[in-house]
């Protein structure tokens, strides 16, 4: 029923295992289909989107495959797009963990999003402006905190449920806060991740910022033209590893460390010095007790906008030091688009899926690296083999928020 501040901090902190994983994105719905899509090396971005979006011209978007989301049935309206994505990933994560919600002690559900039910919100605003009453029940489909609570209730998960809105770092923050709660002993398990839907609001907003690329995004490339928007959700079940193994759970990976910092520079523009992002990375590596040279690869935030890519390259050089040129740095947004509040979780889940497949994916679309990104190992073209090791996952957001996680896939039984 409750979460408390821990009465003692585990010393040393307990290892935190990932025992459940759920993902839905433009690539596929479900872990198995996502792994297959990664093996094929294809992108989920497509120009012919079925959504009614306010675009001046068609652009590639990361829309989830047709038939993934529940459709309207009879007089019943289709569920909110954001909530539907969240619930698909949450159901898969809990099912794959083998946890039985009714038998669980209280834990924590904490999910990141920037938009929540903005699709429903737009409809509610329209109703309110036209003087029509707004049903309280529909408000629950709009507000992010209500959506997350509703998903937890539907799954029967005991304990508090909350949303985190840290812009495009939301998913990573949610996983980081949940990781800390498990590692310090505040809760025995957590369901954490992120989600965001594509909707008119976000497309118009990013278009107004002139940040949307007319072609598939190509992070770190000299000729990049901006980001590709996407949608999706990914949720992880986190547990004290000893307890998870004792119940016979399959350990899919581990969260090893988390770090967060703020640029304190500008609401939307990253600090060109990369100081905040570098502090977040250093904090995550120190938290994980992992040296930069021991990283297997870096899953970069890599939005494919010039200011963000250059800031991240600068921050990586600062945080990794002499190891910067030897650790592969990969951007995954060409696979699924920028899933905003979901990005930190969706791309971390993709990294875990790639690890399970034994592959290190390249950055799709990267052909000529931006000279400003020199000094980094930027894989392009073919897959590389992945033999295990820690992965640094970055996510940055409006407000100058920087979040980094260190995770490990391919864990030995």
């Amino acid at each position: 029923m409750w979460e408390l501040l821990p009465d003692r901090l585990y010393d040393p902190p307990v290892p935190v295992a990932i025992t459940g994983l759920g993902i839905v994105s433009a690539l596929a719905a479900g872990v198995a289909a996502t792994r297959a899509a990664l093996r094929e090396g294809r992108s989920g971005l497509r120009t012919a989107a079925a959504l009614d979006l306010p675009l001046a011209a068609p652009v590639p978007l990361g829309v989830v495959p047709d038939g993934t989301l529940p459709a309207r049935t009879g007089r019943q309206r289709a569920p909110d797009r954001g909530r539907a994505l969240l619930e698909i990933a949450a159901r898969e994560a809990v099912a794959s963990s083998g946890l039985e919600p009714r038998a669980l002690p209280p834990g924590r559900v904490i999910v990141g999003t920037t938009l929540g039910g903005m699709e429903t919100g737009t409809a509610l605003y329209r109703a309110a402006r036209e003087g029509r009453p707004v049903a309280r029940a529909r408000l629950r489909d709009y507000l992010p905190g209500d959506q997350v609570a509703r998903a937890a209730e539907k799954l029967g998960l005991p304990g508090p449920a909350t949303a985190v809105a840290d812009a495009c770092a939301s998913g990573a923050t949610a996983i980081g806060l949940a990781f800390r709660a498990v590692r310090t002993g505040a809760v025995p398990w957590a369901l954490a991740g992120g989600y965001d839907p594509l909707c008119a609001f976000v497309v118009a907003g990013f278009s107004s910022l002139q940040a949307v690329s007319p072609e598939p995004c190509r992070p770190f490339d000299r000729r990049r033209r901006g980001l590709s928007l996407g949608e999706g959700a990914a949720l992880l079940v986190l547990e004290d590893e000893a307890a998870a193994r004792a119940r016979g759970a399959r350990v899919l990976g581990r969260v090893l460390g988390y770090g967060a910092a703020s640029d304190a520079h500008h609401l939307t523009q990253p600090d060109p010095s990369g100081a905040g992002a570098a502090r977040a990375m250093r904090a995550a590596l120190a938290d994980a007790d992992v040296a930069p040279g021991d990283l297997a690869w870096v899953k970069a935030h890599a939005t494919a906008t010039v200011p963000n890519d250059r800031m991240e390259a600068t921050a990586l050089r600062a945080a990794l030091g002499d190891a910067a040129g030897h650790v592969p740095v990969v951007g995954l947004k060409p696979l699924v688009g920028h899933t905003l509040g979901g990005a930190g979780a969706v791309e971390l889940a993709l990294a875990l899926c790639a690890s399970a497949e034994g592959i290190l994916p390249p950055t799709l679309g990267l052909e000529e690296p931006d000279p400003a990104c020199e000094g980094l190992d930027l894989p392009r073209g073919a897959f590389r083999a992945f033999h295990g090791g820690p992965i640094l996952c970055n996510a940055f957001g409006f407000g100058g928020l920087d979040a980094s996680l260190v995770v490990q896939g391919r864990v030995s039984p």
Binding site: M1, W2, E3, L4, L5, P6, D7, R8, L9, P54, P106, T114, G116, T122, L124, Y125, A127, A128, R129, P133, R136, L143, G145, D146, A149, A152, E153, G159, P160, A161, T162, A163, V164, A165, D166, A167, L177, R180, T184, A186, A200, V203, A204, G205, F206, S208, L209, Q210, S262, D263, A264, H265, H266, L267, R279, G397, F398, G399, G400, L401
Partner: protein
């Protein structure tokens, strides 16, 4: 384990603008502020420039202005100079920057998608208040925005406390904020029954003790002894669930119900308030003085629930030295997500 103390409080509410002492005095006076013609309780006579300098006041949403202002007051109250790398920010809100979202949608609908303003888009995001505060004051620690139910101000306090316990920061500003009702909430008013919408922001500065960052600062308001968050019960189970939450928080704090002098409670009209009253009667059988804040502040989830914590913490410092009854409880129930109860006791020294 590390002790956590409340060293600063800043509040902009319909009761007025000030620090913890001002807020607890106004709450004790229990004079309901005058509502606006639309029934809302708003912050009055407020010019952000009088609180402090900020280069972006004019670009901020109402939520951001309120949250930044309350935080500046709290940091000043705490004697915090330059916050820097070791300070974190945790904002709790239920609705976020609704007025800017409505403006965005209005332009979108009336003038088309190409007419929308990038500034309105970027300053209307849910984490804009925290982002503005970080930028304005050079706060470079973690900055999180928690979006939850009616108790989200206490959730923000719990997240801030966990950041300090985990060593991610040495000082944290936890601020609960809501805007006055806007178009969408007007549409909901019929369903809100007897609730009066409200606006405001209440910020608490929490520090790890002993901490070099608060060395030399005058006495703290209180020590945060426990925060308990729990899934709200449904229907008849709501009261007993809140009773269990209150009892659990007291037990974790090591505080007997007979040591509690005051309970600052949300006191929301309707079923939620009834469940809270029922729960506290069970969880606090000593029946301490209760200060219901919703009649004074309106229905303002993040602000209201943070105010329960601020009033409870401020009341502890005012308790006569030597009295056994020196603890205070903050209570904020919720219809979903998480309800919260916090326990404050006298700080050492």
């Amino acid at each position: 384990m590390t002790s956590l103390v409340v060293t600063g409080i800043g509040a902009l509410t319909p009761l007025g603008i000030g620090t913890g002492a001002d807020l607890v005095a106004a709450a004790r006076a229990a004079r309901r502020p005058a509502a606006d013609p639309d029934g809302a309780l708003r912050v009055r006579a407020f010019e952000p420039e009088t609180i402090g300098e900020a280069k972006d006041w004019r670009r901020m949403s109402r939520s951001s202005i309120l949250a930044v202002s309350a935080s500046l007051l709290a940091l000043r109250d705490a004697g915090a100079g330059s916050p820097g790398d070791e300070t974190a920010v945790v904002v709790g809100t239920r609705y976020g920057c609704l007025s800017l979202f409505e403006e965005f949608h209005r332009v979108f609908r009336e003038q088309g998608p190409r007419a929308v303003s990038p500034t309105v888009f970027s300053t209307g995001v849910l984490n804009a208040p925290g982002g503005h505060l970080s930028v304005e004051r050079g706060i470079r620690g973690p900055c999180h925005t928690i979006v939850g139910g009616e108790a989200v101000g206490l959730e923000a306090l719990a997240v801030a406390a966990n950041l300090l316990l985990a060593g991610a920061a040495r000082r944290a500003v936890a601020v609960g904020v809501e805007e006055a009702p806007t178009l969408l909430l007007e549409g909901l008013r019929a369903a809100r029954g007897r609730r009066s919408p409200g606006e405001g922001a209440v910020a608490l500065v929490l520090e790890a003790e002993p901490s070099r960052v608060n060395a030399g600062v005058r006495g703290a308001y209180a020590r945060l002894a426990a925060v308990a968050l729990g899934r709200p019960g449904r229907g008849r189970a709501a009261g007993p669930a809140h009773a269990i939450l209150a009892g659990t928080a007291l037990a974790r704090a090591g505080v007997s119900t007979w040591e509690v002098a005051l309970a600052a409670v949300a006191g929301t009209p309707g079923a939620l308030g009834a469940a809270e009253a029922h729960g506290l009667a069970g969880g606090l059988p000593s029946r301490p003085t209760r200060l219901p804040l919703a009649p004074l502040l309106g229905d303002s989830a993040g602000c209201l629930s943070a105010a329960t914590a601020a009033v409870a913490a401020a009341s502890v410092r005012e308790a006569p030295v030597g009295t056994r009854k020196a603890a205070a409880v903050a209570s904020a129930p919720s219809t979903h997500g998480a309800s919260g109860v916090a326990v404050f006791v006298r700080a050492q020294g």
